[in-house]
Amino acid sequence: MKRYEIYRTAIAIGIALFLGYILILVTVYPEGSMVFAEKMKIAFKEANESFKTFLLSPILKERRGEWIFNLRGFIQWINESVPIIITGLAVSLIFTAKHFNIGAEGQLFLGAAIATGAAIYFPSIPIITPIVVILLASLVGAGWSAIPGYLKSKWNASEVVTSLMLNYVALYMGLFIIKTFLRDPNAGQLVSLKFSDSATLFLLNSRYRWHSGILIALALSFALWFVMKKTTWGYKVRLIGNNKHFAYYSGINTQKTFFQVHLLSGAIAGTAGIIELLGYYGRFVWLYSPGYGWDGIIIATLARNNPIYVPIAALFLSYIRVGAKTMGRYTNIPPEMVSILQATIILLVTAEAFLSQMRQRAIEKEARSTEEAIAGGDANE
């Protein structure tokens, strides 16, 4: 990542956190008939307390005036980052090619719903079963992503709209599958039967269900980073993303590569849901789209589509979410406040023209003065 992009990201996060503090301050502002200064004093005191919880709770907690390591919060933080790392990878891949397939949400939902069938009924073989289940989910994701991918690369139909539509179809189909074939009749609400014991992921800590999904997610990040930066195929994809006409005229089969990008991205996104279900819940529990596909877009943006930065971005996002949730448990501040921070970060990070225009102008000015200095009077011709 270029240096000024790091600055920009840091500034965006800083502004968002500042905004978060203001929002907390507004929420805790007391009512009643005190003088303004008194009220402000109380508000600042409470806001500082809440902000501290917000910032620290995923790793630290207060017990009898002392700050100690918060294992539960830490595990929750890591667990929550798993599905969004994976969707972040899927989205960053597709965005690298300058395509806007925003269907990760549907891919992960349908992938999870169909793979749930396998997680329940596939014969119990240790290690093999979860692999089969995850591969099935990834196959479904790839297939689902192939539809907009095919329509785009073959006939140039807008992948934004088709993938968005397919998210809904996937949602309804997934719910239908769970409801009709896999429902647990003994459960009070609509959930699937429990997964077979050998299907669930290895636990790193069984008390708070820290599952090995994080290892899978990190391995995937590394693998995708390797593919994107170290292989010819990855180079092709990046070239296409930079300038697809140039890529086309330099002999790359752009349509074929586009289609492959859709397939791979769908395959990655497809696993995001089932990995969380296998690791944490042990059954299919969603009644509506969990929204991880949209989170993937935020993460890809923050990580500048670089797979190696995706886990960092995802850990940051899940950190502030867990912090906000914990704060919400102890205070009245709605954890949804975080989405305001998220929106701010996206807007500030993606508004690259602002800073880069200034940068561009500086470069041009410098170039012009050098040119004039070299060419002397000839530059005016």
Binding site: V26, N156, Y168, V169, Y172, A353, F354
Partner: protein, 307 residues
């Protein structure tokens, strides 16, 4: 079977279909204007949600319908202005900016709801008003016809009028011509002296205001309160309706009707044991099919011309 037929052939069914169609249609017209200007407005969802919220809050605190409608429209304008500023001036990808706005609206409304009413789920504690339904004099007394045409919500009539107005604006006025030419080829438009920024900004504003109307129909027409995420994807459905309906307001109206009636149908068809998931996903499948067909046709024609 008879149950189903009689429920589908009833006026209640038609009325329900029209009711469900109204917010989708309003937002879909907004999607159309933005799409034709070459600035697809994915932020319709967030715009609807925020306007629905502002409408209820203003009507709850001021008990003035006018103020709440105006407030909602201003909300739409503000959302569009942010979208336009970031995408047109700061060169953010418009899809990313819109996604940010949707995320902002989803959390921001819940946060503001809590601040203003102390409730994180809905504004039911607030006494807010509803926009009226309208009986059309004389017409309402005619049997059958009166049942179909009269007694709808005021925004339903406004939506119908807007279909014609938007179609006229797009295809019969200089503004419409500018919008379409900017959407077709910004460089060509610029070369004949059209301000691309102004035109696209105007289109986004119109689009945002239409989405606002759709939003307040949800919170002040359907029901009289605001609930978290109450748009539940209608802004995206509006995009689908627009994609299905193509470039004319009439087509978009038909597309919206398809979504509205399939939702109404899904309740009736439950008598037949057709799961609602199937009926609900039909319009989306049709949309993808129609888009595919349209793109295929275009690609085929282009190929023929090339030869």
């Amino acid at each position: 079977m008879n149950n189903v037929l009689s429920s589908i052939l009833s006026w209640e069914f038609v009325a329900a279909g029209i009711r469900v169609t109204t917010p989708i249609l309003l937002a879909a017209l907004g999607a159309l204007v933005a799409e034709l200007a070459g600035t697809p407005n994915i932020a319709l969802e967030g715009t609807m949600l925020f306007s629905a919220f502002v409408g209820v809050i203003i009507s709850g605190f001021t008990h003035s319908l006018w103020l709440s409608v105006i407030g909602a429209l201003i909300t739409g304008i503000i959302m569009s202005t942010i979208l336009a500023y970031f995408s047109l001036k700061l060169k953010t990808d418009i899809i990313m900016a819109a996604i940010a706005l949707n995320i902002f609206a989803s959390g921001g409304t819940i946060y503001a709801l809590y601040l203003l009413t102390g409730d994180k789920g809905s504004s039911a504690s607030l006494k807010s008003l509803v926009l009226p339904s309208i009986d059309i004099p004389i017409l309402k007394d005619i049997p059958i016809l009166g049942d179909i045409l009269s007694g709808h919500h005021i925004l339903t009539y406004i939506a119908i009028i807007l279909v014609f107005l938007i179609q006229y604006m797009l295809y019969r006025t200089p503004l419409g011509l500018r919008i379409r030419s900017v959407g077709e080829s910004p460089d060509a438009a610029r070369s004949v002296g059209i301000s691309v920024f102004k035109t696209q900004y105007t289109a986004l504003i119109i689009s945002g205001m239409l989405a606002s109307l759709g939003g307040i129909f949800l919170s002040m027409g359907y029901v009289e309160w605001f609930a978290r995420d109450m748009t539940s994807g209608r802004g995206f459905i509006a995009l689908a309706a627009q994609a299905l309906g193509g470039t004319s307001a009439y087509g978009v109206a038909l597309g919206s009707l398809l979504f509205g009636f399939s939702e109404a149908l899904s309740f009736s068809l439950q008598f037949l044991n057709i799961p609602y998931e199937v009926t609900q996903s039909m319009p989306f499948i049709i949309t993808v099919g129609a888009l595919a067909f349209y793109a295929w046709n275009k690609a085929k024609n282009k190929k023929n011309r090339d030869i």
